[in-house]
Symmetry: C2
Subunit: 264 residues, 2 copies
């Protein structure tokens, strides 16, 4: 292990065990995984399109975007990854990168060799299944992004993105009350929702003027959670978060002013 932290992958194990049943043996095996810490500067592609990948990347800090590119140079971010996410677990079974991975802020990643991961999944089928499940959940999020970009207007798209990020950051334990850290520029947000930076700016202003959310200087400040969920047309079920899986309908009840999990 090349880190001072004795168990850098512990957060990843916690995330996996929230959705998959893993015994002590499996958890031990994962803790023993070799990992190499790397820091990546903003806007740097640490995985390039078409490249053959030999490591999976776990995010310790910062935000990562999965980048789709147009011939005309238009960018589309197809997925955002936050700390505790294993960004390209899919590369374990499909090592050729079908999209680039780019740091959206200063990012610390842990590179875990495929050989070690493959040896581990060979010895522990339960881990293989857990990895498969994580990939399926990521795909469910992708499907929701298609809906978001395809069938919501600009304001709804941004509100939906904000809701998703708020839920996920909160789930990772990184939000403070109604303040959610989200250090991206308006241009990057534009690339997430398929709009221009100028229009993102206008819509964020409108959401702020309407006292729904205040997105500024790298943090989301939720002003009216109920109305935000309404504007976003948001149902967190697709995220398959442990808390929301049981009663997704209750989460959007209109008579609850603030989402409990997000209040301090």
């Amino acid at each position: 292990m090349s880190l001072s932290d004795p168990a850098p992958l512990k957060p990843f194990i916690d995330k996996l065990t929230a959705r998959s049943r893993l015994g002590a043996v499996e958890q031990q095996a994962m803790l023993a995984l070799p990992a190499h810490a790397v820091q990546v500067q903003p806007n740097h592609d640490f995985v390039r399109l078409g490249e053959q990948v030999h490591h999976a990347c776990f995010i310790v800090a910062g935000l990562v975007g999965r980048i789709g590119l147009n011939r005309d140079g238009f960018r589309q971010i197809t997925a955002v990854h936050i700390p505790t996410d294993m960004v390209d677990l899919h590369s374990v079974v499909v090592p050729k990168a079908s999209s680039a991975l780019q740091a959206l802020s200063v990012v610390t990643i842990l590179r875990v060799p495929h050989v070690a991961l493959r040896e581990m999944t060979r010895l522990h089928p339960a881990i293989a299944e857990a990895f498969w499940r994580e990939c399926v959940v990521d795909a469910a999020v992708l499907a929701e992004w298609v809906v978001n970009v395809g069938r919501r207007d600009a304001r709804g798209r941004l509100a939906h993105l904000i809701c998703e990020i708020a839920y996920r950051i909160e789930g990772a334990g990184h939000s403070v009350g109604l303040f959610v850290p989200f250090p991206v520029t308006q241009g990057q947000m534009a690339d997430m929702v398929g709009l221009t930076p100028v229009h993102v700016n206008r819509m964020l202003k409108r959401l702020r003027d309407d006292e729904v959310v205040d997105v500024r200087s790298g943090t989301i400040r939720i002003l009216d959670w109920t109305r935000l969920l309404d504007v976003a047309d948001f149902d967190p079920a697709y995220l398959h978060l442990p808390e929301t899986d049981g009663a997704p309908a209750d989460e959007t009840e209109a008579d609850r002013p603030i989402r409990p999990a997000l209040s301090s």
Copy 2:
């Protein structure tokens, strides 16, 4: 086996072995899988949103859409599945449906019980890995759809959709020369690319008038493959088809009037 066909899942095995190495033992196990044939009428949801699923569905004939819904009633099709696709392999590890599955035409599916699939993946880790890989490829297609809907204009979106369908149908061996069967209405195509049916109609007319593709009465007729690829800004690498994986760049060479695999 409830079918007269002695090996109804054979096409699925062929598709899997194109991307994953499976031995004779694994293939035998898959052939022995129980399957129950069902016919579904167009526009019928055979899997509903939020439902607990106990079978995975293999398409024998017809087209299936994965449906995302808006509160305002707007539909977005997030994925299209063609014969030889296992539509919801993901349900094996995440049985709660995060989107509905709807027949887009008259569809014949084979329902394979999860219990049988899970028992098989338990006994044959190589099959589990192959299933995981299929899910990852499906996710790569989803990511490309986000790019398509987010960063291409109406004409490009339709052209891209048509290219993808042409490649996939051709890969399944269902196209005849430059004619590709695609029995969907313009309204359904609109739901795939996030447009209105009216605008789909106009853009298809334009593609036809420009002698690029002729999409009519349930079939795609490719008039100028090179220009279609150009208009679509299409690179088939993301489909991870066996033929194209080796030399994806060659596929779009401008001096080739017709894609070889699609000519009769």
